[in-house]
Symmetry: C2
Subunit: 312 residues, 2 copies
DNA sequence: TCAAAAGTGTTATCCTTACACCCATGT
DNA sequence: ACATGGGTGTAAGGATAACACTTTTGA
């Protein structure tokens, strides 16, 4: 009988998010076939005392960045995650990957070596609702409808996840659900690749190595959801910032255009920021006041996040 | 150099929740030293295609229960999770455990073999705010204050997590945070045990094997949080139920006394339940109408949970 | 007839949404 | 002057919280 310890390897994958030029970006490396990959490090059960310490160490070593907020996402271990056809032989190494979400404050430093900052909305273009809004997803939805045919359950899922009827509202946190829907429908490059079908040229977004895009979707979804009930956005911000910059950051992460006044009122109500009294200059208009994270209880244990009032 | 594949074993731990006699209970087995343990199954990388299938199989085999809702919680793998003193030698097997939350509809069946249904609020008595409310946690808080001394950060954490000032409100989802606070303060039996100190007789709640109480805290916290934005409570309910039973279930899980009218209005607004027209009999008072989960879009993808309006 | 539990009506308050408008600077 | 972005006031609508009350059964 198999003892359950043969051929297991554990790796740590990091979804490292930072803001660059008002866009939410993820730290990627160049994978084997030229596609983007997440930073990945092996977990050594002898040397590494905890997952989190191992993660922080290898990300800093590989990229030079110090991670602030770190949170475990999910453990991925399904057989054939990247190639379901391959039937594992007895000598097959089972690869299990523990995904982590990490946030770093914006930094002007260029990443080391072959690391890149990839805008997350280039990977998931349909997650950006700031421009035309619902119209942006039109071609995608057409493809989904074709896949669904007259399957009522599929149609309901599409309508719900993409908020197609006016009654439903777009839930920006369901990044993974939408990606998995597109994967099932065969509309993303990975779906074709995993079945050795030719990848259509129209496949939306940037494909990634193995199941890394799924891991990234998990991370972005977690971050978006968390914005609303934990003060995580400040882990992406520099020490001082204007309220407009804060709003731009929230918009870049959530993929939504927010309502200015309501956002400000909401931020004020949380008490998470405090004015410094100093002003910016050269914003193109009236100088903005600079704020910082409130020194009071601010990051304190209590549930507190930022409002995300949509601007229609 | 260590290759990262020696001596790793992966196990699956299940936090299986069900309602028994109007209490939220967790399925436990009897651990080595007589303490309760979570059902645990090894993960066989050759035989098991996915974590979830393996989990469902071994729980059904061990206990006879079919699991409904299943969700991954967290992967626990810190060295010395149960005994930090032990320095791992080269032959030390590193045990990594993937925790899952599972919900089963109430069932009259007795669990098989040495399995038990343990009321979760017996494990975490301080999580029950239904009785005297804040007063129930008084002795605990005294212990925490003694530990904190005049450390302002510790005091703020205690006040926040236990909602000691009237301005703060009790957040029922922070089960893990409160357990970890108590562990750090050395007030739960596991903290003493892990440092070979004698376990004080006053240690609150029921201790569990290894770090299983931490895993259970993770599961209960996740379930409580999820109640509010996903229709998970129905996975604990029988096919038909009265609104009072639904409220009692929500109260048993959340550890709160809810406001009857507001709860009902809120449930109605979600559209998640529909009346059957039938009435109960023998409730001790006026017969109640029986409801069922709405057959419409009900479980549909959209975010929908139940309100938890506190009754002071 | 009374206790016990089911079920309903109504109001005050707060947060969200949405509207329109004024302010200060650089060009 | 005027474009650009910063910053503000106020009112309508809906959800929540809190109040007390009626209805229907079993003992």
């Amino acid at each position: 009988m198999a003892t359950g310890e043969q051929g297991i390897r554990i790796g740590l994958s990091a979804v490292v998010i930072a803001l660059r030029e008002r866009r939410a970006c993820v730290l990627t490396t160049v994978g084997e076939d030229g596609a983007a990959a997440l930073p990945f490090g092996p977990f050594d059960p002898v040397r590494d005392r905890t997952f989190e310490l191992a993660l922080r160490a290898f990300v800093t070593a590989q990229t030079g960045f110090r991670l602030g907020f770190v949170e475990q996402l999910y453990t991925f271990g399904d057989a054939g995650r990247d190639s379901p056809r391959a039937t594992p032989g007895p000598d097959h190494r089972r690869e299990i990957s523990i995904g982590y979400l990490a946030l770093t404050a914006a930094s002007a430093d260029a990443p080391a070596a072959d690391a890149r900052w990839t805008p997350v909305l280039d990977v998931f273009p349909w997650e950006d609702r700031r421009g035309e809004g619902p119209a942006a997803a039109e071609p995608l939805v057409a493809g989904l409808r074709a896949w669904a045919g007259d399957d009522a359950r599929r149609l309901a899922r599409i309508e719900s996840l993409f908020a197609l009827t006016p009654a439903q509202r777009w839930n920006e946190g369901l990044v993974l659900d939408r990606y998995e829907l597109l994967y099932e429908a065969g509309l993303v490059a990975e779906a074709a690749r995993d079945q050795d079908r030719p990848v259509p040229a129209t496949a939306p977004g940037r494909a990634m190595v193995s199941d890394h895009r799924r891991i990234l979707a998990t991370g972005l979804g977690r971050l978006r959801s968390k914005l609303k009930y934990r003060p995580v956005l400040f882990d992406l911000m520099p020490g001082v910032f204007t309220l407009s910059e804060l709003q731009a950051a929230a918009e870049a992460v959530a993929g939504l255009t927010l309502h200015k006044q309501n956002f400000r009122r909401g931020v004020e109500r949380t008490g998470l920021v405090e004015a410094t009294g100093r002003l910016t200059t050269g914003t193109g208009g009236r100088p903005a006041e600079l704020f910082r994270v409130s020194s009071a209880d601010a990051q304190g244990g209590e549930a507190m996040g930022l409002p995300l009032p949509a601007q229609r």
